[in-house]
């Protein structure tokens, strides 16, 4: 029985364009590579436009869930197809649109097994979109897993360094996470006694006893947290990043890791607020260890992608710290950081990918002097590194600042540690930039060409997003606040 809706189903259209892209690609012959790429670009562009439209069309004064679509799906189990967007979901949808589109454009030069690659990417991204918009636990889990398993092939087929090991490790690790999530979800659904997977219905306060919340939350936290790179479950991430091809790294670090954090937020925190408060201290501890640990390990890496991988661990630690504060500011900062970090790593990986494609090395020992031979490419790398350091007027600064302030308020010691990690983070990011871009130009890289305009488009988009949200952070924060303020004020 459909529940009537009066508006165009925007959210489903986003999903639909992914699925349509997937199907169209499946029916294009393997050898028509350009056609496949164009279809991918158009379909991903549509998703970007739609998500951007939704981001700006969202009525912030009204808040809450908007663009809701709801159908009964399996009534006997209480499963419904229930999509909606709120202040937490919309930034993530926008992020996914951006990263997806730019990721597709970044892979424009791909020549091997093009069809399968883009088909899998579409599959993966439809999972990601679904995860961010779904309000039904059944579908959340489905989308969650759909976005994970294509990773295996994407890394193992098109990857590089130790790709099979990395792909296997990553897939098993992440699905081990989902092995905790599924029991927890079922547990909650069963214990609620509502016989429904409807997240909104389950969010009703008093549905779960404190014990149930604590119990389910820790499972959800670890399960989703593995994907978010929570220390000590992070080791899949650098290995995976290193092995993955560029676009996959972008989507993976840019979006997939956010799925983990978003899952903690959407399922864990929404359903088990008391469990959240109970475990918050542990979350903060792990997050801070992740922040500090990530930068220190990153400091001694020589592979560019390893460096970024560990910086991701550190940055996702900031997200975790924000979530652990149980404050409006913390939530704001965490979600903003998810967005900012997503765009930033996407930029990072796309520039590293470009450099790797040309120089065939990712080792910062071998690289050097790229600013002379490819100033634009290294420029992108530098911008990404600066964003990673948290330079003001680039998006992640505001996010980090907000998180630091709120964590300083709640956990002074952790706040101090996190702020101190900034110094090391600067040290290691700049070390990378210095070894890669600076120094005397090397003979063997002298003939390499710089980023052409066409290939530069995705990077330009990413840079401009970073700068725009760096200059006008309020656009994002206002959006997130529509969700975070009511949520926190509704806490018992």
């Amino acid at each position: 029985m459909p529940i009537a809706y009066a508006h165009f189903p925007y959210l489903s259209s986003i999903l639909f364009s992914c699925v349509a892209g997937l199907l169209i690609i499946l029916f294009i012959p393997e050898d028509k590579k350009d056609a496949i790429k164009w279809v991918s670009a158009v379909c991903s562009g549509v998703t970007l436009l739609l998500s951007a439209y939704l981001f700006f069309a969202y009525d912030k004064t009204q808040g809450g869930l908007q663009f809701v679509e709801k159908y009964q799906w399996v009534p006997s189990l209480g499963i419904s197809y229930y999509n909606g967007a709120d202040g937490f979901g919309l930034p993530m949808l926008l992020l996914t649109g951006i990263v997806f589109f730019t990721g597709v454009l970044t892979m424009w030069e791909l020549e091997t097994r093009v069809k399968e690659f883009f088909a899998l990417i579409f599959l993966l991204v439809s999972g990601v979109f679904g995860m961010f918009m779904s309000m039904d636990l059944f579908f959340i889990f489905i989308w969650f897993d759909v976005s994970l398993f294509p990773m295996y092939l994407l890394i193992a087929v098109w990857g590089s360094t130790r790709k099979e090991y990395a792909a296997m490790k990553l897939t098993l690790y992440l699905l081990a996470g989902s092995a905790l999530v599924l029991p927890a979800i079922i547990y909650l659904v069963v214990k609620s006694g509502f016989h429904t997977f409807d997240l909104v219905a389950l969010m009703h306060p008093g549905t779960f006893t404190p014990f149930q919340q604590k119990f389910a939350f820790i499972l959800l936290y670890i399960g989703f947290g593995i994907l978010a790179g929570v220390w000590p479950f992070h080791t899949w991430s650098p290995t995976g990043h290193v092995a993955a091809p560029t676009a996959v790294s972008m989507i993976h670090a840019g979006v997939l890791m956010k799925i983990g954090a978003f899952g903690v937020l959407r399922v864990g925190i929404f359903l088990c607020p008391e469990g959240w408060q109970y475990w918050a201290h542990l979350m903060a501890l792990l997050a801070v260890i992740g922040i500090v640990y990530g930068v220190f390990v990153g400091l001694s890496q020589t592979d560019l992608k390893f460096v970024i991988g560990y910086s991701s661990v550190s940055h996702m630690g900031i997200v975790g710290l924000g979530l652990a504060t149980v404050t409006v500011e913390g939530l704001n900062g965490a979600v903003f950081q998810m967005f900012a970090h997503g765009v930033m790593t996407a930029l990072f990986f796309s520039s590293v990918g470009y450099i790797y494609d040309r120089t065939h090395t990712k080792s910062i020992v071998e690289l050097g002097g790229l600013s002379r031979t490819m100033p634009v490419a290294s420029g992108y790398l530098i911008v990404a590194a600066l964003t990673g350091i948290g330079v003001p007027c680039l998006a992640s600064f505001w996010a980090e600042l907000t998180v630091f302030i709120s964590s300083f308020k709640v956990y002074p010691l952790y706040g101090i540690l996190a702020v101190c990690a900034l110094v090391v983070s600067a040290l290691f990011m700049l070390r990378v930039v210095q070894r890669t871009c600076y120094g005397p130009p090397k003979e063997r890289f002298a003939h390499l060409e710089d980023v052409s305009f066409k290939l530069g488009i995705p990077r330009m988009i990413l840079v401009s997003v970073i700068v725009i949200f760096g200059l006008f952070p309020d656009v994002m924060l206002n959006m997130i606040q529509t969700a975070s303020i009511p949520f926190i004020s509704g806490l018992p």
């Binding site: 220190f296 007027c393 702020v419 700049l430 600076y438 606040q481």
Partner: protein, 635 residues
């Protein structure tokens, strides 16, 4: 101290002043990287408009008695509100003027200095970025905003120091500068957070108002003041974070003139002055600041005594002069500190720009080389440099004399004579190293002089005509003029500044009679010693410090501070924590995961092998299992 709303016209003017360089930066980065002339034009155009704006503002508000504030909201996130706004008061107006004037002059100068460099457009883009950040920093109404631009200033410093990125030392220096200032910034930020938690607000006016003591306990004030002072230490290269500044001289000389002497490093002192009332709530904090300033001043002066690198000497001198400013401020001399900041900006920029001419001409930083190659024949820069050096040494009637004398008076007003003694020792050292440099260049050793003179007379003159363009010359002249004149504007400036802080200043002044003579005579003594050692015809050009090897290496090695940091970094950070974390990642975390996986596979192999046994064993297992299942029931 209420703030009065400003008229829209002023807001617009201030906004334009602040934002225009940023627009220039974006335009240059995005569009005009290929067109060098246009880039330079954009940048200089923007900065000249800012200069005009600054002059307009300072003239409009020359009789200002209360602060003028304009604030809007930039970011709201829960209880955190990050405002954007302008705070116009004498200090910010003064600083604004200094910044824009020197920016403008340096950018003009750079037209000549940077001509032909591959990164010309990039240079101007970064210069514009710096101008934007620095101007906005001076105008900030809240500490948040100030922090934001503080970081941005650090960023542009990083970019400009490492401008010649192909040199390893340059990029290394840039990194060092960024990381070391970051270290201070972290303290700064923690201080901010501490204040924010207790005060709920980071408005500068609020922070400076007396009500702070009502909200925060004295201990808290001291702690947060010291943390904020950490930022000052980092940015102004004070002890113990002072070693980045000499290295920062790897950047182009105009950059050193602008960022690393006149403006950016002075931002630390500016912050100190900005929060002067806040700091003065805590005597402990003030004493610590005083000690830090003094130590930095003395240490860097000694380092300057043995350096052969012309820019390094000025870098050390910058540190020591910043130390003076901090001493002045910490001693309670608000006007003294700010006044010294002003005069220092002028004469230090002049010193660097003059050195830049020499370096540009002779392509060496070594003062002995410059002397040998005939440095004294470049008349204009040489004269300007002598003027500036005299100002630096505190010789009358140049600007430095007046400001330094004010600081000394302030120090004399303190109970403990140790500060004054240190300050006076500093005066002697300053004169010594400043004129050591001058004499080495002006009176080079005879042996090479003839040939070099020939060489440069013929060769150099042509090039002088060629290189020594007007755009490089007249900023020098203007700055020299300012250096000469500025000292006499002391009263005016005092009046302008203390319109706001009238009460603070009155205690100083009555020591000045004897102090004046002591101070000047010490400077002259320094001059004479230098003359004996370097200037006169038979001089060996070996300083008295250099005769003691231990002392010489101590000073040359910067009191081993750098080495200590390096070791600390290598041993503790890289080989210690970082290594431990990496090993932990590989061995413990990954190792245990791999062990689990291996264990799974191994047990799988074992179980699989068990299935290969003879049929009767399987039957036996079946029966036994059934037996045990039944047995289980009875327990």
């Amino acid at each position: 101290m209420t703030s009065t709303p400003i008229s829209n016209w002023t807001v617009l003017m201030t906004a334009v002043t602040a934002v225009l360089p940023f627009v220039a930066f974006l335009l240059i980065m995005v569009f005009t990287r290929k067109n060098e002339r246009l880039s330079a034009g954009l940048s200089i155009g923007a900065v000249s408009v800012s200069l005009a704006g600054a002059l307009f503002l300072i003239i409009q508000y020359r009789h200002l008695t209360t602060s003028v504030q304009y604030a809007g909201k930039w970011l709201v996130s829960g209880f955190i509100t990050i405002p954007v706004g302008f705070l116009l008061d004498p200090l910010s107006l003064l600083m604004l003027t200094i910044v824009t004037v020197i920016c403008f002059l340096v950018q003009i100068y750079s037209l000549g200095y940077m001509a032909g460099d591959r990164g010309f457009s990039r240079y101007y883009a970064f210069m514009s970025l710096f101008a934007w950040a620095m101007i906005s920093l001076t105008l900030s109404a809240s500490l948040f905003q100030l922090y934001v631009f503080w970081e941005l200033v650090g960023l542009s410093s990083y970019l400009l120091i490492g401008f010649w990125y192909e040199k390893f030392s340059a990029s290394e220096a840039g990194k060092k500068a960024f990381v070391m200032t970051r270290l201070g910034d972290v303290a700064f930020m923690l201080g901010l957070l501490l204040v924010l938690m207790n005060l709920g607000n980071l408005d500068i006016l609020k922070l400076n108002s007396p009500m702070v003591t009502a909200v925060m306990s004295p201990g808290l004030i001291t702690l947060s003041a010291l943390l904020i002072f950490g930022g000052v230490v980092g940015k102004s290269a004070q002890f113990p974070l002072l070693t980045w500044l000499p290295d920062a001289m790897e950047g182009p000389t105009p950059v050193s003139a602008l960022l690393h002497s006149a403006t950016m490093v002075a931002a630390g002192v500016f912050l100190f002055a900005r929060l002067f009332p806040f700091f003065s709530h805590s005597a402990t904090a003030m004493t610590v600041c005083l000690a830090v300033g003094t130590i930095s001043m003395l240490l860097s002066s000694t380092m300057a005594m043995v350096s052969r690198d012309i820019k390094q000497v000025w870098a050390y001198s910058t540190i020591s002069q910043l130390g003076y400013m901090i001493m002045g401020l910490a001693a309670g001399g608000y006007v003294a500190g700010v006044f010294h900041l002003t005069t220092h900006a002028g004469f230090k920029a002049l010193l660097f720009l003059c050195s830049g001419v020499f370096i540009h001409q002779y392509e060496t930083n070594d003062m002995f080389d410059i002397g040998r190659k005939g440095g004294r024949h470049l008349k204009t820069p040489m004269i300007c440099m002598v003027i500036a050096a005299a100002a630096l040494s505190g010789l009358p009637p140049f600007s430095g004399f007046f400001s330094k004398e004010m600081i000394m008076a302030q120090l004399a007003g303190l109970g403990n004579p140790i500060w004054l003694t240190a300050g006076l020792a500093g005066v002697f050292l300053t004169a010594y190293y400043a004129f050591r440099l001058i004499f080495i260049i002006v009176f080079p050793k005879e042996i090479n002089d003839e040939a070099a003179q020939e060489n440069s007379a013929v060769h150099g003159h042509e090039e002088t005509e060629h290189h020594h363009d007007r755009e490089m010359a007249w900023p020098l002249v203007i700055l020299a003029a300012i250096t000469v004149v500025l000292g006499f504007g002391k009263k005016m400036l005092q009046g302008f500044l203390s319109g706001r802080l009238a009460g603070v200043e009155e205690m100083a002044g009555h020591h000045s009679d004897w102090l004046l003579y002591v101070s000047v005579s010490l400077a002259v003594l320094g001059l004479v010693v230098t003359w004996m050692e370097f200037g006169r015809r038979k001089a060996g050009q070996i300083g008295f410090v250099e005769r003691i090897p231990a002392l010489k290496s101590l000073f040359l090695e910067r009191w081993y501070i750098d080495r200590m940091y390096r070791r600390l970094l290598d041993v503790v950070i890289y080989r210690g924590v970082s290594n431990i974390c990496t090993q932990n990642d590989n061995r413990v975390i990954d190792g245990s995961i791999d062990a689990v996986c291996d264990g799974t596979v191994k047990s799988g192999r074992m179980i699989s092998d068990l299935h290969l046994s003879m049929i009767q064993y399987k039957l036996l297992v079946m029966f036994v299992a059934v037996f045990f299942l039944a047995l289980y029931f009875f327990f």
